[in-house]
């Protein structure tokens, strides 16, 4: 199978997947299951976003949940302000602020009276944070494992801050009792097909848009940076700018996924930006296939789907994390490209068999100089 053929098959795979998730509610007539499935798809978006920065640009962001959580809080803040006040004090203060003896609405809550601002902020705030962090890291030429531990440290710090600032964020409880989002007369209820289509549509846009970006020159340079950062730098490219681009886009998408998650769950909680969720994102991405957007999304849907079906028995849920850890290690050791990598392995095996049986062995082009150079550099890099 040659390169253009491969790209065609891949596009077909993406389109097939998009069609499947879009017609899904027609087959399924169960609001409860639909809600569950929405959650899986949101995680799919989140996982695909990580694949964009990790699989395509080599930036393993262990703090992906920060973006997700910020998005979910932005949406929750806007919905909270529209909630019919039951226990609120004067001027429509959210209930937890009244309990914490806050007298006036804090200034950074004010703009969330507008949905437009909230939706903007849910994407822009994570992007801004990622951009800032990325500027400091990548301009300082921090790469590899250090990026991972710095993003992980940020996750822990932001999580602690949100829990600590209970007066403004609801602390451990998060922001609960939210109204339903209504835009242009369309209500996005947690159990309605509207919300499902919104989420499934978002996943399609993210997958196809992400695939399109990776095919552009920018996308190719990102992948080149992943493979050999210094070589790209010697070519005169601004490596930090491309890394920052990958991290920021990924954060924006994760923020959007967070907003959708609030719609599905009907609350926002500090667990949305806690270490276990961030770890899960990395696991989904690794299991599905880090360097494939659709692989990562499928990984998330598969893993959370299995977890969701089995979560009825609490005894199993306890051993689940144990099992997940083992699966994670096994995938990292033996299947670095994840489950989607099995397709590549299969295709390669077929190709090899074809080459062995067919007589076109002699027709294979001779190694060019650049091939030899590539081989050598690969050997050198592998020590």
């Amino acid at each position: 199978m040659n390169a253009s053929n491969y790209a065609r098959w891949r596009l077909a795979g993406y389109l097939l997947f998009c069609c499947l998730i879009l017609i899904f509610p027609v087959i399924l007539n169960n609001d409860y299951l639909l809600n569950k499935f929405m959650r899986y798809l949101v995680f799919g978006i989140l996982s695909a976003a990580l694949s964009f920065s990790w699989g395509y640009a080599g930036i393993l962001n262990l703090g992906q949940a920060v973006s997700f959580g910020l998005g979910s809080y932005a949406m929750a803040m806007a919905l909270k302000l529209r909630t019919i006040p039951i226990q609120t004090g004067a001027k429509g203060l959210p209930d937890f602020m009244v309990w914490n003896d806050v007298k006036t609405l804090p200034w950074f809550w004010e703009p969330f009276h507008s949905y437009a601002f909230a939706i903007f902020a849910g994407v822009a705030a994570p992007m801004l944070l990622a951009l800032l962090l990325g500027w400091f890291m990548f301009r300082g030429r921090i790469t590899g494992v250090f990026v991972s531990i710095i993003t992980l440290a940020m996750l822990v710090v932001v999580n602690l801050l949100i829990i600590d600032q209970q007066r403004y964020t609801g602390g451990f409880n998060g922001i609960t009792d939210l109204t339903t989002l209504e835009v242009f007369g369309v209500a996005f209820d947690a159990y309605s097909a509207n919300t499902y289509y919104l989420i499934a549509g978002a996943l399609c846009v993210v997958l196809l848009g992400g695939l399109a970006i990776t095919q552009t020159k920018t996308g190719l340079i990102m992948q080149a940076i992943r493979d050999d950062e210094n070589r790209v730098r010697y070519f005169g490219y601004d490596v930090a700018a491309y890394q920052n681009f990958a991290l920021t886009v990924s954060a924006g998408v994760a923020g959007f996924a967070g907003m959708l998650y609030t719609l599905v769950m009907e609350f926002a909680s500090p667990t949305f930006l806690a270490v276990p969720l961030s770890l899960s994102i990395v696991i989904w991405c690794a299991v599905g296939g880090r360097s494939s957007l659709i692989g990562a999304a499928l990984g998330a849907i598969l893993v959370t789907g299995v977890q969701g079906t089995l979560s009825e028995s609490p005894a199993f849920l306890d051993t689940w994390m144990l099992f997940m850890g083992a699966i994670f290690i096994a995938v990292v050791l033996f299947l670095p490209e994840g489950l989607i990598g099995l397709i590549d392995i299969g295709v390669e095996a077929i190709n090899r068999r074809r080459a062995r049986t067919g007589e076109d062995r002699s027709k294979r082009p001779a190694m060019t100089v650049s091939d030899i150079a590539l081989e050598r550099s690969k050997r050198v890099r592998e020590g």
Partner: protein, 290 residues
Amino acid sequence: MADTLNQIFTGLSIASILLLVSLGLAIIYGTMGVINLAHGEFVMLGAYSVWLLQTVFGLNLLICVVFAFFLVAAVGWLVERLIVQHLYKRPLDTILATWGVGVILQQGVRLSAGANLRYIKMPDWLTKAVPIFGVDVSAYRIFIFLLTVALLALTYFLITRTRYGFRLRAVTQNAEVARCFGINAARVYSLTFAYGAGLAGVAGALIGPLKSVSPDMGTNVVVDAFMVVVVGGVSSLLGTVASAGLLGELSGLLAYLYNDTLAKALVFFGVVILIRIRPEGMFTVHVRRG
């Protein structure tokens, strides 16, 4: 005056704990370029092993510390042999694999020892406060400080004055050439990983009595250790020591002015700004690494 002195002692106490936790992490990273994300869980394991030995056999804390070292070192050795060893050519993947190990350890402890908080008793003679320059300092914190200094001296001795340390330095400088001279690099790696893990175990055993012991105690501890390693660079023990001292004093001061959480956040922002200015860490001499 007494306030300032008190503050300095608090900072030193935090710094010694930081150093205790990050020493193992720094040694493992400095030698093989692996960030061990299970480090926090090794610390937790150390604390739990002490809890177990105390409740079942009623052993003294000091004896438990020695046990904790060997127990966690053994776990570290196993992890290196079974998993990490296969990933030296994929440094980013070692983070993932060790994270997976951390998950398994954490959940394993939660299932076997329960999710409740556990408490470790400190010896009676260490519960008192000792006056130093007119300031009352907890004897246990002085004990931790002295033990950290002793461990540091031991590590320094191990690296600079023993056969093993000689091999370790050779492998760190250039593993390929070291192998050519007949050094078994894989063995050195395993031993170093085990030693780093053992140090984490000691750290856990010692901070156990100060904080409550829970299966997820490792996460917070290890994040502080990351910051120490990022600030200190990895080329020398001295960098780690200086960085732990700096961050310890800084967190102590900020926690006094605001609160623990804000102190942590501010230290993190400081570290992020610092890496823009000195990406290789504050205390790094430029070295060429093979």
